[in-house]
């Protein structure tokens, strides 16, 4: 019983990082209705900038976090300008394929600049885990959960209570009409991309500081985990992204405990498979086709 609860706690903690990754994904997918496969690699670039700062200049975790988030945001803008801005509306597949090409480009660039496979990454805290009855709570895990909940609330606030949020929701609703009311759609989309990648940067920093190392494979890992968590949670739903991440984390933690680490990654795909079969809309998303009848865009 204690194991069950401890595993669930660990799962929730790790799951909150998946949720953060899914949050950035959801923001891009919700606004653009397009899949950015380069999302994870943008975060990985931020991580590499961070590790250089750490290894070369001995920067502390906060400075590394700041540069990593900034680096991820800039890499995100680079991807947006290259793969998304030039593609016309409705060319979703084209931008997905080009974001795949940029994924490879970013990954190879990282390998060329820093050819060793792994680089060290600073830990966030080195303190002993908190004891809570028979259970152990890691401090960096708690920070992860706090960041996930705080950022979700911040994004909800930004979307529903600010002018920029109004613009983004207008673009989600109807991009042509958003142009017509005078929203600078191109700038708004670019900023949304930067914000999404910055959120990914927060998630990436928290994960890397727990792992205490970064590899070029981190990009693929982040894209996959974020994508799976987003699809389980429901495409385009902000609370769904966090819930999906938490569920994924809990399932993975239990599977690792009962079936071993090889089964852990398999479990993620099985959960996704079951959801796609039984409840394709995800936890909080709308199933495809059940949308309010929106007027056709020209």
């Amino acid at each position: 019983m204690i194991d069950l609860v401890q595993n669930t706690i660990d799962g929730v903690m790790i799951g909150s990082s998946y949720g953060l990754l899914a949050l950035g994904f959801t923001l891009i997918f919700g606004v653009m209705r397009r899949l950015n496969l380069s999302y994870g690699p943008s975060i990985m670039i931020g991580g590499y900038v961070g590790t250089v700062l750490y290894v070369q200049y001995g920067a502390g975790p906060l400075a590394v976090a700041g540069t990593m988030i900034l680096g991820a945001a800039i890499a995100g803008i680079y991807v947006e300008r290259l793969c998304f801005a030039p593609m016309r509306m409705g060319a979703g597949i084209a931008s997905m394929v080009s974001s795949f090409a940029i994924w490879m480009q970013l990954e190879q660039a990282a390998i060329l600049v820093l050819p060793r496979h792994t680089y060290p990454f600073p830990p966030l805290t080195t303190g002993a885990p908190l004891e809570w009855g028979p259970f152990l709570l890691r401090l960096d895990h708690l920070i992860m959960l706090g960041c996930a909940l705080g950022l979700t609330a911040a994004i909800q606030f930004a979307l529903y209570r600010t002018r920029f949020g109004l613009a983004l929701r207008a673009i989600i609703g109807n991009p042509v009409a958003a142009h017509l009311v005078g929203i600078n759609v191109s700038v708004a989309v670019m900023l949304a991309f930067a914000a999404a990648s910055a959120i990914g940067g927060v998630a990436g920093f928290l994960v890397l500081s727990v792992d205490q190392q970064v590899t070029p494979m981190f990009g693929m890992w982040a894209t996959l985990k974020g994508l799976i968590a987003m699809m389980i949670g429901g495409l385009g739903s902000i609370p769904g992204a966090i819930l999906g991440g938490l569920l994924l984390g809990v399932v993975e933690a239990h599977c690792q405990w009962y079936f071993g680490p090889q089964i852990r990654d398999l479990a993620a795909y099985i959960v996704l498979f079951v959801f796609l079969l039984v409840h394709p809309g995800g936890l909080l998303g709308r199933a495809p086709g059940s949308d309010i009848a929106a007027p056709r865009t020209p």
């Binding site: 002018r163 109004l166 613009a167 929701r169 207008a170 989600i172 609703g173 109807n174 042509v176 009409a177 958003a178 142009h179 017509l180 009311v181 005078g182 929203i183 600078n184 309010i292 009848a293 929106a294 007027p295 056709r296 865009t297 020209p298």
Partner: protein
């Protein structure tokens, strides 16, 4: 007020506008009639900046609009009520109106204007918290008009406001158009409903296959000829 000269807009190699020239006089209702595929919506989208013209000029009181972004054109005082209304379906009526005032920063003025829209369109007031996607077609049309008015336009462009609406609602929409014009808004209207359009218009243009083929006042051409050309085009009417 609006001077369009030799405007060419193309989709790839196909020119939808083949050198359109027309003028909209300030304070009046100008109507553009023509069959499907004549290029009317393309013209509206080009004036609003959503489509970029290949050649020609669009001048608003002498200032060039061609080449500007849609956002800049809104700030110049041009607002388009698009074909099919295009309200933001998952935003409330109130938020749709707020979005219409996106470029304005005078909060008090925006709130006062929203109250004015509620007074003019009481259905919108009743449904202010309702998602726009759940409104009826007529209510969505009124919302689209109110949203465009929120930017305080000098020139209001309307693309087929009667499309898909019941006759009673169409009559109401045209009443609103006449009323807005009496209050001083210049209106440039695209319509398929030639009968209703000719009742409110001060002047009208006929457009066929990307060109302006007639310009005049409503009394100048027999209504059945206008209707024939507006629905069928000259070529098929002659053959």
């Amino acid at each position: 007020m609006l001077d369009v000269t030799d405007l060419v807009t193309a989709y790839g190699k196909i020119e939808a506008l083949k050198g359109v020239s027309l003028q909209v006089e300030g304070g009046k209702i100008t109507c553009l009639l023509g069959p499907n595929g004549a290029g009317k919506t393309t013209l509206m989208m080009t004036i609003a900046g959503v489509l970029q013209p290949r050649r020609g000029s669009i001048r608003l009181k002498g200032a060039e609009l061609a080449g500007l972004s849609p956002a800049r054109i809104v700030s110049q005082g041009v607002a388009l009520v698009p074909e099919n209304r295009l309200v933001f379906p998952h935003m409330s009526v109130y938020e749709n109106l707020l979005a219409g005032a996106y470029q304005r920063h005078d909060k008090a003025g925006v709130n006062a204007d929203i109250e004015r829209m509620y007074a003019r369109f009481p259905q919108l007031h009743e449904r202010s918290e309702q998602m726009a996607g759940t409104l009826s077609g007529g209510e969505q049309q009124m919302l689209a008009v109110a949203r465009a008015l929120m930017s305080q336009p000098r020139l209001l462009l309307m693309d087929e406001p009667s499309l898909g609406l019941a006759p009673l609602i169409v009559a109401e929409i045209f009443n609103i158009i006449a009323e807005l014009n009496r209050d001083g808004t210049t209106i440039f209207l695209v319509e398929q409903n030639a009968h209703m359009a000719l009742q409110v218009a001060h002047q009208f243009f006929l457009m066929e296959q990307g060109r302006i083929t007639f310009k005049g006042t409503p009394g100048q051409l027999a209504e059945d000829e206008v209707i024939q050309r507006a629905y069928l085009g000259t070529r098929r009417a002659a053959g």
